[in-house]
Structure formats: C-alpha cells, structure tokens
C-alpha cells in the first residue's frame, strides 16, 4: 500500500466571537481602518433586512429571504470582487450585491413579484440575476469563467450557494468543470447550518463542506463566515489564485441563519431556541463592532448617525419600490425572444385586447 495523494483542509479565523484577534491581521486587511466601510455596509444591510421583513409582514412584499447573520460573509465577498468580475448569487446575498452597486429597491421589486428587480440597476450589467433553482448559478459561473478564459480576459466568476446547495449535482458539476478546465472560479459555500428545515449534517457525510473541492482538485478552505477578516482573506487567496490562472476554489463560510428560511417559513418547527441563542453569541456584527471600538475606529455617536442614515436610505428605497407601477401586460411577451414570433405577437395582441387596450 502506497500513498496516492493527501489533502488537508485549513480553517481560517482571525477575529474571534469576543472581538479579539486570534491571529495577526492577514494581507487582505492591511490595517484595521480598512474594515470600517465594510462594517458600515454590514449595518446597512442589516437595517435593510429588518425593514424588508417588516414590509412583508404588512403584505406589501411577497415571500422574502432574510440575510440576518450572514452579513460578514456577504459583505466580505462583495467587497472582494472587481466590477469586471461576474457575481452569480443565490437569493439572499444582498450584502454582496449592494457592494456591487445594486439598489435596494431592486431586491424589493424582485420579491415583490416584478422581474425588473433582475435588471440589477447599479450593479455590473453582466452579473447574474437571483437564482431560484438551487446551485445552478455555480455551474453558470463556471461557464462565465470559461468565456473569460477563452477570451483571455482577466476576470473571475464568483458564485455563492448554501450548505444545502452544496448537495446539488450542479454544485458538483461546477467543481468538476472548474477543475477540469482550470477555470477562474470561486465557489462560496455559505454554510448557515440549515437548508430550510434540513440541518447541515443531513446533507452529507463529509466532515467539512470545503472538502468537496478535493473532488475536483480545487483549492479548499473552511472559513469562519462570521469573521469579516477571515472572509476577506479567504477571498483574497482564492481571487489571486484564480486571477493568476491557477484555478478555482471552494470556500466554506461557516455562519448561521438567524432568521426563518424565508418569511414563508417558521423555523421554530424544526430547531431549538437554544441553538439560535447560541448562534447569536457568534454573530458577525457585534464582534467586529467590539474590535473597531477597541481600535478607536468606531463609537456610539458614529453608530447612531449611521443607523439613522441607513434607515432613511432604506425608507427612500422602500418608497421608490412601492411607487413603481406594475409592468404593462405586454411585458410578458416583450422579453421572450429578440425577434418576436408571429404566434407570440398574436397572443400579445390578444392580451392587450383582454385589457381593452387593443
């Protein structure tokens, strides 16, 4: 018996739950002050999230997927991308998308039942829309990266999916093709402990989700996803590898879904309050705040001002959403084909007639 191959999965953490560094700041964070704008983004997205949930509860929004607890992972991923890179999200990574320029109202439009949310106004026009069929965005990202590679463009493709998503065959196909073609892809598995009611341990027998990348010969890392520093550093490493033509990565960000799966879900059915309480001890916001305050980079007055500004900005976005008129009926037909077939034209006319607009 000889050794054919061996592997190890490292776990990355810099800022512990108590807000203290467990290791020196890595290259991704040259100085603590660099964290302040990202901390502010985290607070912004948390404000947005709370207001979106409230909006849904009043019946003014459809089903909404909260991002509570994922802020460090989401914002850290978003901050690590360049505009020319392509981002392929699942459905709750608003923090990453805001970092790319997305208007909050577009999130609301999407969950409000209006396709125009997917215009992702403000974000790079090549970014992928929200993706409901789980993990398919990972394989699309691999295809995008293949386009970049074939054209010799210095761009990378970054996809996110959940712990549940990492069970999906499309995720594995992304791992496989990223490795086979040495594609500039970063697959971010956001392990928040749950896929609706199914716990992480029911998804797979693997000790870590990061190790799934071994199946494709990829770079793999498990990361404390509640530690913004670790997220940034993991993304830096994976990004540099990808940009250098050294291939793709699977990064597992360990975090926790503090809210229900969506507003249509009731997590009390399947998980204990104790578990949620324990997760709150490790959430990403407080630890970073503690750190920044200790560094003299943040204080209560700043926070109060920023919270207020966040609230106002989100409210303005909510109003903009609420004031957006419904699309006309012909919108159903107008984006189906570049050249509308005759039968579709006829149906479009019939739909207009049905509205008395013939």
């Amino acid at each position: 018996m000889t050794l054919a191959a061996s592997f190890q999965i490292d776990y990355l953490q810099y800022l512990g739950p108590d807000g203290r560094l467990v290791a020196p700041l890595p290259p991704a964070v040259p100085e603590p002050a660099a964290l302040v704008p990202l901390f502010k983004q985290m607070l912004f997205v948390r404000t947005f999230d709370g207001k979106a949930i409230a909006l849904q509860r009043t019946g003014k929004l459809g089903t909404y997927a909260s991002c509570l607890g994922h802020e460090a992972t989401h914002v850290g991923i978003g901050a690590s991308l360049r505009p020319e890179d392509v981002f392929a999200p699942s459905y709750r990574e608003y923090g990453a998308q805001f970092a790319r320029g997305l208007r909050p109202r577009d999130v609301l439009l999407y969950w409000g039942g209006d396709e125009r949310g997917n215009l992702l106004t403000g974000a790079p026009a090549h970014d992928y829309p929200w993706c409901v069929p789980i993990a398919t965005q990972c394989l699309m990202a691999a295809g995008a990266a293949m386009a970049f590679k074939l054209r010799g463009e210095p761009r990378i493709a970054v996809a996110t999916c959940g712990d549940g998503g990492s069970s999906k065959t499309d995720f594995y196909a992304a791992v496989n093709s990223t490795g086979a073609f040495t594609l500039p892809v970063v697959l971010c598995v956001i392990n928040n402990g749950w896929a609706i009611s199914v716990p992480r341990k029911a998804q797979t027998g693997a000790q870590t989700l990061a190790q799934k990348g071994i199946a494709g010969g990829l770079h793999c890392l498990q990361v404390d996803g509640n530690d913004l520093v670790a997220v940034l550093e993991a993304m830096r490493r994976a990004g540099e590898r990808a940009r250098a033509g050294e291939g793709g990565s699977v990064l597992e960000f360990v975090t926790y879904r503090l809210h229900d799966h969506t507003t249509a879900d009731d997590a009390r059915r399947y998980r204990s309050e104790d578990e949620v309480k324990a997760a709150w001890q490790k959430e990403p916001f407080l630890r970073l705040r503690t750190f920044l305050v200790a560094q003299g980079l943040w204080d209560d007055a700043q926070e109060q001002a920023w919270v207020e500004e966040c609230g106002q900005r989100v409210d303005a976005e909510i109003n903009a959403y609420l004031e957006t008129p419904v699309q006309p009926v012909e919108a159903m037909f107008d984006y189906l084909y570049a050249d509308m077939p005759a039968d579709v034209q006829a149906q479009r006319a019939a739909a207009l007639a049905q509205e008395g607009r013939a």
Partner: protein, 328 residues
C-alpha cells in the same frame, strides 16, 4: 370516516398516512418532508407519527431524490417522493424518462418501478419564480408513465391511494392554488379511485368544457356564468391525463358538438393539444364549431404582479365558449 370535512392538502396527508400505516413498503421522501411536514404541510405530522425510517428528509438535490426513488422502487419498495415545487422537477426528468418509465419495458417485466412523484403545481399563489409552473406536457409524451391531477379533496385522496398502489410510476400533480380552497368529507376508508377515468363534474348539452387541476375552479365558475345565460355547459375534469379517458370526452362532444379546453400551461404543445387532436381525429363529424383552447400564453408565467393576467380566467373561458357557441 373523517368526522370533519377536510381540504385537498389534508386529503393528501390523510392518504399518505393511510398507506404508510397499511403498507410497510411505502416510504415518503423529499426535501423538508420530515419534521417540517413539507413546505405546504402535505406531510405534516407524518414523521412524528411513523418515524424517520418512513418519512425521510433527503439532501437538497432533485436528481438524488429521483435516483434514490427509482432505486428503492426497483428493489421492492413503494416510495412516494416529493418535488418541492413544479419548477424543481426538471432535474428529475432524466431518471423519470430513462429509468422509471422504462424499467419494466427494458427488463421485460423483471424489474419495475412502483413509485409516485408528488409535485405541487401551478400558479396563482403569489409565489417566487419557479414556484408556479405547469409542466405536465413534459411527461405526457413519455410512454410508461401515468400522470394524475386531482382537483378535489375526495379525488386527491382516492387518486393518491391508487397512484401509490399502482405498480408503475405515477406523476401526481397537486394543484397548489386550491390546496385549501374548500373542504369536503373524505372518508378515511382506504378506497382508491381508478387511474384512467375522467370526471363529468357537471352535465350539460350545449358545450363541453374540459380542464384539470386548479382550473376546475374557474371552469365551473364559467359554467355558472353560462348557465345564467341559459347555456348548459358540461364540465369534465380530466383528472388522469395519462392514460387519457378520451371516451368520456368524446361522448360529451358527440352530445354538445362544441368544446373548450382550459389549462394553465402554455398553449403550444400543451396537453390541450392532444385532446383537441383526438377530437379532430375521432369526433370531427360531431363538431359544430372549432375546438377552442383557453390556456396560458406561450410565455413563462410572470412573477406574481402579473401572473393573474397570464392564467386562464372565468372571463376568458366564457368568451371562448361564446365564440364556440356563435358558430351555427
């Protein structure tokens, strides 16, 4: 006997419970079907009652669900799998077409696949993208399958029992929009319904309205509206699309000479086409007017702000019926 009237989805739960209790080879599997009882609560309480060996949460992968189901079924179990929503069935197509529908044929009867794939189907519940699709046409052209669509609590119960007991694969499509529309007394007596029979929900002699699933609701309402005008519409709930009980439809068209077919799916190559084609091939001389189809448009069902404009409606059905009746 269930003392209380129950909804369509409760009838599904009741049928599952009956069959799990009475046949040890039945297992239920899917995403969130266990402790959570399914995102629509179709399996509510079943894991608690029958245990995690009978009601199984799977990893999040529809290929996996389909493949495990075929594997279990071909080795003597009767799995009842759930696809969480219509829009998530597509990764199951390969196993359904290549294995479930063919195992008996391929092995000359040596192995077979007594399995059911349940899927909540159709629009109109203000759901996110891919939660509102009508994709029955993907399955109706596939030999070896059965495709079933209940539209009432009683039919949901009887057809699901039949589907589970049938030794061949059944796609059981649940009209989610009417899951909780109304209640019926559904005796919990384990009585199955036949898998190849259309239901004449209302007798009439002026025009035949043919539909299935949630559109039964609008179609019956359209029949009411027509009745107000003195037009007696016969309403047929196809209920079992494959195999199709065309005899019942033909008999009705022979009587009325006019037919409107109503379905949510896109028109082109939707299953309504098959019914119209059968009429054109077998009932031509009975026809007094062109066969009308009231369907979804040939576009994707929009997100929910516009979805009701996509779906067939009472107005559209009544208008089509009037067009058909206008022919001499």
């Amino acid at each position: 006997m269930s003392a209380q009237p129950i909804t369509l989805i409760e009838a599904i739960t009741q049928a599952l419970a009956w069959e799990i209790a009475h046949d040890p080879s039945v297992v239920v599997l899917g995403e969130d079907v266990g402790v959570n009882g399914g995102v629509f609560r179709a399996t509510a309480g079943l894991q608690q009652r029958f245990g995690a060996q009978r009601v199984i949460d799977t990893p999040l992968d529809e290929t996996t669900i389909a493949g495990l189901t075929v594997g279990m079924a071909s080795q003597g179990m009767k799995p009842v799998a759930e696809a969480q929503f219509d829009g998530f069935m597509y990764p199951m197509v390969d196993f359904i077409v290549c294995h479930a529908a063919r195992m008996r044929y391929r092995t000359r009867g040596r192995l077979h696949c007594p399995m059911v794939l349940r899927v909540p189907w159709g629009g109109g519940i203000r759901a996110p993208e891919h939660h509102s699709e009508a994709n029955e046409a993907i399955f109706t052209n596939v030999p070896g399958l059965r495709v079933v669509m209940p539209s009432s609590p009683q039919r949901a119960y009887g057809l699901l029992l039949a589907a589970i007991r049938d030794p061949d694969p059944v796609i059981y499509m649940e009209p989610k929009r009417i899951y909780r529309q109304y209640k019926e007394l559904v005796p919990d007596d384990g009585q199955a319904l036949p898998l190849d029979v259309c239901y004449v929900l209302r007798d009439g002699c002026d025009i035949t309205l043919v539909t299935w699933g949630a559109q039964v609701k609008e179609t019956l309402e359209a029949a009411d509206r027509l009745a107000d005008e003195g037009i007696r519409a016969e309403v047929i709930d196809v209920a079992t699309l494959k195999p199709l009980d065309f005899a019942t439809i033909a008999e009705s068209v022979a009587k009325t000479g006019r037919c409107v077919i109503v379905h949510e799916a896109a028109k082109t190559a939707g299953f309504g086409a098959e019914i119209a084609a059968r009429i054109a091939g077998e009932c031509l001389y009975d026809l007094l007017a062109p066969v009308e189809r009231v369907t979804g448009y040939d576009t994707h069902i929009p997100l929910f702000r516009l979805e009701m404009k996509y779906l067939p409606s009472v107005d559209k059905i009544v208008a089509a019926a009037r067009r058909a009746l206008a022919h001499a």
